[in-house]
Amino acid sequence: MTATTADALPPALRLPKRRGVELLLLVGAVLVPVLGYTAVGLARNGAVPPDVAGYGAGLGLLALLAHLAVRFRAPYADPLLLPIAVLLNGLGLVLIYRLDLETPKDQAAPTQLIWSTLGVSLFIAVVVLLRDHRVLQRYAYLSVAAALVLMIVPIFFPAVNGAKIWIRIGGFSFQPGEFAKILLAVFFAAYLAANRNALAYTGRRFWKLQFPTGRVLGPIVAIWLLSVGVLVLERDLGTSLLFFGLFVIMLYVATGRTGWIAVGLLLAALGAFVVGSFEPHVHSRVQDWLDPFASIDAGRGPGQLAQSLFAFAAGGMLGTGLGLGHSILIGFAAKSDFILATAGEELGLTGLTAIFLLYALLVARGYRAGLALRDPFGRLLSIGLASILALQVFVIAGGVMGLIPLTGMAMPFLAQGGSSVVTNWIIVALLIRVSDQARRPQPDAVETGIIARVPEEDR
């Protein structure tokens, strides 16, 4: 995309930075989880938890440090992104802490707190060190190589609950696929930005579809097939679905060809049907989705999905109140894949809607940054990152609510899972970075020389 002179802002007009708004929202974003933590204590023990001040101070300090990083290194960034991330992460910590009360032998909240701290640290590192997102464009092929390595490595580690997506070293385990999705988004954005004209305007035409030449399309389709293939091998269906959707959306945005959407949906439906029919692991998920109560009728008691639906139903409009639900009946995945069921039961439809709207706002702000940017790479990157969030929320929320077949995935920020929290903080950091770029009045004015000047043709 080439910038026109009309896009340039008059030098006199300065966009408000809105850092004060961000700070104010952050106070609220810290206060809500603190109140939630207090509510759990009151509901369970009839007393305010003694460590509520320390907990609040800790969360507040993390938020403040993140805010300072944004204030000094990305002053024009969208003021909503950071507060939403802090609020969702804090809410997730409260929900996990609340579920920990039901499983005295398995405490997940302290670990999650450590990972969240690491996530915020990486957020700060990205905001401070990455002065211009366009730098990433240069590392497109390095990114994709790293992504593939990360995705292949878990094959050599033992499966956990049927999926080979974890790497275990010592007491820690993480999902490299989580990090891979950022790297893949970077690669897609860079490749598509560089080749979008070739993709859109060359190649053969079949019926109404314009197919680009194999030379242009080949590498990206190969990468994509490889990643989805690896994920299918690892039985990480959620992530393979996510990569598929990400690829289709980014290809569509880059080329503007509606045909890609049609082809994508067709392929997705075909793939889903074939895998759903013949792969036993997936087949059972599809069966569960079609009839969540089959196991009850068969006398084996409710399965995970049925328990999840019971939890949502128990919440009703207003929820049972934090600490007063029984979503732990879901079993081992209650804190991770099914965390949303706890939110649905204890916060009700009202709380659930609020959470969905927070995600929607996060995604919308990502799209908004994409719209405001003028370089195609930045655009595609922000759209890609925002779409990752949107698709991930839809796939896991739709799965635990019986809208679509369940595929294991982490609810961004809410669910227990270190790699997920860290990855999402990096995503938000990148969105902060691109939104800062998008709203910055004079690119030249803030260049400091740490990072090379932006090439003339990209401006």
């Binding site: 959306i249 639906l309 019971f310 049972t320 439809l349 929607a360 759209i383 019986g402």
Partner: protein
């Protein structure tokens, strides 16, 4: 590119709308059916999340609740479990509830909307009310007298207050401790299996759930029918009945256990328990009038609830004359629960006005405010008052001069009727000893109590006297206890 981004954003919006609609579908529209899915543990967890309300006898609780700290938190405990098991039933986390624990479960578990201070209160607060209490009509002393009287023999006692229908005692032995069935785990399942497999069937509530051939106690019902139908106008006049009596349409002869039944009057037939006279009277009353008369006492009623359901007492509605003759002396297919026979005695004692028996006086909130109050209701006018007066005299005669002398209490008007019911193939089983009676204290306007006693393993001679021998002393103890109150 901008247009495409907007479209992609619209797709994300579509996904969001799908999620929100789906959330509303589950949490609002399907919530009720999901909440009440039997596999959903939440109702059970909530139910046991608070102590269960108590069942009261004479103002004292015979139940309690124990905090176990487990997921199903509160378990039921019982004081004098075996004594009150036929009244309370059990409240088991594994096997559900029975008897009052079952019928008053909404009150006891706190789910009854009437427990809330205002209508729809529970729907708004989503909170459950604390469990309410159930105040029974049972009197501790009467219950104990009956239980001790049976002394572990297989049998049952039902005692009513004739003027109101209040159940004063409901005893079935051998009994069991319902506390063994509270909670979960192997001790509960073991106890359940042991109790169900036991040959003596301790969990059977013989007072209201088991029917026996009523034997000669049924002669009171036949007499009431004969007097009401004016087949007999003077109970002291001789009847035209031979002894032995040939059952109509057959060559089978019906003998008497007692001497002096030939041409005996109705009063004499009751006093010494003549089979021949009563069988003949039943036939002369006729099937239609007999059925009408017995049903006014409660026979053939499948819907009798006190509120625990009472088994149907049977009197066949299609019989040949010889079968009718045998039915009129409480044999053939005629069966009755002990409660049914207590109702028969009660109807006679109360001048023919049979009150509906009830076991629950009232239900209250935790703090004691009345939720529902039960009162005396007429069940049927079972017979004419004049008939009732005549039967009272005859029953008093049974105790003073006849087979029921073991029930006599000094200075108290006691009416009774013995019975021995034969059963088994060719009547080889040990006979059931019956005694039904009522007692009225001197100077009192109304009889205090009507009782029915049945003892299954009455080790006695096959004579009507065994009802007087085994069952009458128990009835006397029960009546004495009731009169003391």
């Amino acid at each position: 590119m901008i247009r495409c981004i907007r479209r992609a954003a619209a797709l994300c919006l579509l996904l969001l709308v799908a999620l929100l609609l789906n959330a509303a579908r589950i949490q609002v529209f399907e919530a009720d059916s999901l909440d009440h899915n039997p596999a959903n543990r939440r109702l059970t967890i909530t139910r046991y999340g608070q102590p269960r309300g108590n069942i009261l006898v004479d103002g004292r609780s015979v139940t309690g609740s124990e905090d176990t700290g487990e997921q199903l938190r509160y378990e039921r405990t019982y004081r004098n479990g075996p004594l009150y098991a036929p009244v309370t039933g059990y409240a088991s986390q594994t096997y559900g509830t029975s008897l009052i624990e079952y019928t008053e479960d909404d009150i006891l578990s706190g789910t009854d909307p009437m427990l809330a201070p205002f209508p729809l209160w529970n729907d708004i607060t989503r909170a459950q009310q604390p469990g309410g209490n159930v105040v029974t009509t049972v009197e501790d002393a009467v219950q104990r007298a009956a239980y001790d009287g049976l002394g572990g023999r297989r049998g049952a006692v039902a005692a009513l207050e004739p003027a109101t229908g209040r159940v004063l005692a409901l005893v079935s032995t051998p009994s069991y401790d319902p506390g063994l069935l509270s909670g979960t785990g192997s001790s509960v399942t073991d106890a359940w299996q042991r109790l169900n497999a036991a040959e003596s069937r301790p969990m059977l509530n013989r007072a209201i759930r088991q029917t026996y051939p009523p034997g000669s106690t049924f002669k009171i019902v036949t007499a009431a029918a004969a007097l009401d139908a004016e087949v007999v106008t003077d109970p002291y006049a001789e009847t035209d009945t031979p002894s032995p009596y040939v059952l109509p349409g057959t060559t089978t002869t019906l003998p008497n256990e007692s001497r002096g039944c030939e041409q005996a009057s109705l009063a004499e037939a009751i006093r010494i328990s003549c089979n021949t006279v009563m069988a003949d009277l039943g036939v002369r009353v006729g099937l239609a009038d007999m059925v009408e008369a017995v049903e006014k006492f409660g026979f053939n009623d499948t819907g009798l609830k006190i509120p625990p359901g009472v088994a149907k007492s049977n009197f066949d509605t299609g019989m040949s004359e010889d079968q009718l003759a045998l039915s009129s002396i409480g044999q053939f297919d005629t069966t009755a629960t002990p409660l049914q026979m207590a109702m028969v005695a009660s109807a006679v004692a109360n001048g023919g006005d049979l009150k509906y028996p009830y076991l629950v006086d009232r239900t209250t909130t935790r703090s004691g405010a009345t939720v529902r109050q039960n009162g005396s209701r007429t069940y049927h006018r079972a017979m004419n008052p004049r008939t009732a007066m005549q039967l009272r005299e005859m029953m008093v005669d049974v105790v003073e001069n006849g087979t029921g002398s073991n029930a006599a209490i000094d200075g108290v008007t006691v009416g009774g009727k013995t019975g021995t019911a034969q059963h088994g193939v060719d009547n080889t089983g040990t006979p059931y000893a019956w005694f039904i009676s009522w007692a009225q204290a001197p100077g009192s306007a109304q009889p205090a109590v009507a009782v029915a006693v049945v003892v299954e393993d009455a080790a006695a001679r096959r004579a009507d006297i065994s009802g007087g021998g085994s069952a009458a002393p128990i009835a006397r103890a029960v009546m004495e206890a009731a009169l003391r109150d």
